[in-house]
Amino acid sequence: MLIMPAPEPEILSRRDELIARLRDILPAPNLIVDETARRAYECDAFTMYRALPLVVALPETVAQVSAILSLAAEMNVKIVPRGAGTSLSGGSMPLEDGILLGMSKFNRVLEIDYENRCARVQPGVQNLAISRAVEGRGFYYAPDPSSQIACSIGGNVAENAGGVHCLKYGLTTNNILGLEVVLMGGEVIRLGGKHLDSEAYDLLGLMTGSEGLLGVVTEVAVRILQKPAVARGLLVGFQSVAAGARFVGAVIARGIIPGGMEMMDQKTIHAVERFQPCGYPRDAEAIVIVELDGAQAEVDHLVGVVENIARAEGATSTKISHSEAERLQFWAGRKNAFPAVSCIKPDYLCMDGTIPRARLPEVLEGMDEIAKREGLQVANVFHAGDGNLHPLILYDASVPGDVERAERVGFDILRLCVAVGGVLTGEHGVGVEKRDLMGEMFNEADLEQQLRVKCAFDSMNRLNPGKVFPTLHRCAEFGMMHVSGGKTAFPDLPRF
């Protein structure tokens, strides 16, 4: 299955020297060398693959991060940055010949600037902690991955994390203003700030979603938004997934962008109702939860419009929230969906692809067929508004062959997403999980250009190697050369 680059014996043999030199940079408690303690870091939330890191470093200052990266560059050692380790694609999976750079000690909110609607935080701060820090004044940070109580803002930047609110409020990339980044040579650069766009390459946008391959984020300036005055929910049942999908399209076609629009299939509805009943219609083949937020008058008006659309699209049931408790009740099942599904089978593989929304019915059908072929089932709960699917492939790790079957189903589902015009990952990242599928979406020239960008940041390929790209050669092999003065003629650029 997935093959990681073989550990380089040359690096392994210099472990003692590396540790000795790291001790010059970090106080003893910030360096984990003992095997048992290192075990705690051997995987992230993509638990299928594990590796014991060579050593774990937990810096506390930018100067330490810079010194560690310079040392790694000098000794030619690999570095894997890690936030909270909730990556579902193995983005922070360690390497046996690499330093695991844990950013958990960068956990302070540095500044809250309400006037400029901005907060400066260290990368290890949890996503939800940002909203908590500003909620007293009625503000919040919009991107809300389901993992928000655990995941770090640095990991969010690296994965361009999304969540329920992203349909209306955008992904991480649309909600950050500035970054401080340490490059592989140890240089510290600042991108953006409290201001908006400037006339320069948008390296801030490029860093976002770069999965820890371009630099280590040591500070993040995020936009904070005023909380909408009210939010109301609708819980709509449909006789078929196709009808639910038509409803979602019809709402958007009417010019309404809800704060959230989530869909669940019958398998998930039943699992949720067994796990912790919250009043979902058991007879529906699909439900859609719509949340409208904004000014009271507008929300009340739009709730009526959306209800009418639901009727016109043949909804079998419609509930509208009249209190905050009711609204939260609608969401309770959605929030419990993942644990609830574990009651059907002990294990699941959560995939993540995005498709053009109109193709939803055929893709859901196709996914079912793929799973059946391997004798497995798929449960579905997803961000319907933006076509971001999270099929849960149910399996039992104690049954021989099930893990491989689940992986095959996952790969085929992602291939299907790409075939209908979608992408391999909407928010969880490529990591190691989908690395070998990159060729489904990109041809060689596309990938080579991305690799050249990588080389511009990290010419020795020491930062998080083995992730995202199927193979990574040395930069020289990609014709990445540094021209001075722009005056040198290159009569015939090397091709490969």
Binding site: E115, R117, N160, T173, L183, I189, G193, K194, H195, L196, D197, S198, E199, A200, Y201, D202, G205, L206, T208, G209, S210, Q226, K227, G249, I252, G255, G294, A295, A297, T354, R357, G387, G421, V423, L424, T425, G426, H428, V430, M438, M441, A445, Q449, Q450, V453, C455, A456, G479, M480, M481, H482, V483, G485, G486, T488, A489, F490, P491, D492, L493
Partner: protein, 405 residues
Amino acid sequence: MSVDLATLEICDAREAVEAVREANARNAPLALVGGGTKRRLGRHAPQERELSTRALAGVTLYEPEELVLSARAGTPLREIEELLDAHDQQLAFEPMDYATLYGDTAKGATIGGAIAVNASGPRRIKAGAARDHLLGFHCVTGRGEIVKSGGRVMKNVTGYDLSKLVCGSYGTLALLTEVTLKALPKAETEQTLMVLGLDEAQSVAALRRASGTPNEVSSFAMLPAGAPPLGLAGHTALLRIEGPEISVVTRRDALAASLVTNGERFETLPEAQSRALWRAVRDAAPVACRPGPIWRLSVAPTDGFEAVEALRRAGAPILAHFYDWAGGLVWLGLDDAPDAHAAAVRAAVNALGGHAALIRASEDIRRRVDVFHPQPAPLAALTRRVKESFDPAHVLERGRMREDF
């Protein structure tokens, strides 16, 4: 610009590949031209030849229900806006029309040009910039290779987000051949709340206070006394509210109530006047009609007024100015000077943090003065390596953004 510049018209990506490869072989740099409306933007750096996208035009996909539109790079912006308008949709980033600023009658900015300069209007704070609406693209790099990135769906983290990189790259990385954009619903209606009777500092502060209320103001500008297009006697804070009629009215009233301190007056501009006003703000009309150099400062909203005050203290001759983006975007029209007052402007911005760009000036000045804000050495070096990853021999728009590439 020289008039007898040889222009290559390309009809497809293959022809662009040939042109770029030939440019590499001859070390003869190319200018990339859409409508040619922004030729005076950027450093003065004449290229040997022009590559025109005029023939590379047409909308290739539009699915209103999916909020997605693809077009070849040379498609006139106007054509795209009309098509979207017919479906009550829009490019929410409101790309600016530079014609007012450059006193240019040529109309015909292209979508490729708008993306290449990351053109964004007054709705920037709420709706994002061009960069936030580019979902994917096809291009020909400075190496002469056809490359694509991104896609047509709203959520995508598959590989690096090169869309962000080409937005605002001024044609220095690649020739865009086709772009895929997010389209958004148009608001049913809009009004503008005007706050009158305050001094300059208070008016700018009113913008920031408005941005801290939950009334979903979509644009925040401040025109000093006498500034066109309103030409009112006093300073005027302008707050645009968009949405369904009932919502606009209630939010406007709530907003006015939340802004009352003392001495100010409120007035409302109805839909048609509101639309015309924000088009003028978008196109920098309040500073465009004066001769002389024009600067655009991007700073934290609290620093916009500070920057202007610092320039006044330094004795810089400000002829016209106004604020957008809640005070974070300052347009400045200055009196002529050999360096367009670059030293004073840069000093003011550097003290606060931010970015200053010289948007309009003579060729001579734009040859000698850094048009875009200087970068610290490590960032400048990285920027250059990124440039070279797309265009190692610097054949695209050589010298347009930075002297060293």
